[in-house]
């Protein structure tokens, strides 16, 4: 299990290569990469604030739950903080399992929990405004799928 919270940009491909190469019993690897979307070409940057200490703890808890629930071989969560440019990768999760069903479901689960249970806050900065992104009711509702 690998949990990384960092400011530096990352290449999802490099992360996936290393993650896949270290598997010894997995038959299926799923990755999810979130990219900063440029909403109509006005976004200058996305600023991501987080709660150091709690972030790592929350991500570790979520990953541990997925690991047990789907009997996974491995999990990786990487989330950036600080200033991001449009179309840059914000975060990534990867899951490795014996079979594809577990790998898919666990990655989907990790994303749902990460969206509304990990202490990150996004602020969108354009040339003339800066606004905190509102949480979506949908994201909260998505969690009920896993209960």
């Amino acid at each position: 299990m690998e949990i990384r919270v960092e400011a530096a940009p990352f290449d999802p491909g490099e992360i996936l290569s290393a993650f896949t190469a270290r598997q010894t019993h997995a038959g299926a690897v799923v990755s999810f990469t979130g990219l900063t979307r440029d909403l109509g070409g006005t976004l200058q940057k996305m600023e991501i604030e987080h709660y150091p200490g709690m972030t790592e703890k929350a991500l570790t808890d979520i990953a541990s739950e997925a690991l047990t629930r789907w009997g996974l071989e491995d999990i990786l969560i990487l989330h950036r903080h600080g200033a991001l440019h449009p179309q840059e990768p914000i975060m990534m999760v990867a899951t490795a399992a014996r079979h594809r069903k577990g790998a898919f479901e666990a990655a989907d689960f990790l994303m749902d929990y990460l969206k509304s249970r990990a202490p990150f806050w996004k602020k969108e900065v354009t040339s003339d405004s800066a606004a905190w992104v509102n949480a979506k009711d949908d994201d909260e509702t998505a969690l009920t799928r896993w209960q």
Partner: protein
């Protein structure tokens, strides 16, 4: 007792700082909010709508009505928008 109180995102921006140490006998985060509101309009603005707030005690999400007990670190923030 003395506790570290942390603020994030627009809660932090409205209050004007991210962390302070507060001496309080509040039994819950909701009680603590009542005390904080007395500190000025910046606190009133941050805590105007507590349904929009989330709270963590010692880095675990909980409810505003939960007993603070021996909690050392209380954090207030808006709903999270990770991912």
């Amino acid at each position: 007792m003395k506790r570290d109180v942390l603020y994030f995102a627009w809660v932090r921006e409205r209050i004007g700082e991210g962390r302070e140490t507060i001496e309080s006998d509040a039994a819950t985060a909701a009680d603590l909010i009542e005390e904080l509101r007395q500190r000025g309009p910046n606190y009133e603005a941050a805590f105007a709508d507590i349904t929009a707030l989330r709270v963590a005690y010692d880095q675990e999400l909980t409810e505003l009505s939960a007993a603070l007990g021996e909690t050392q670190e209380v954090a207030f923030f808006p709903p999270m928008t990770g991912g």
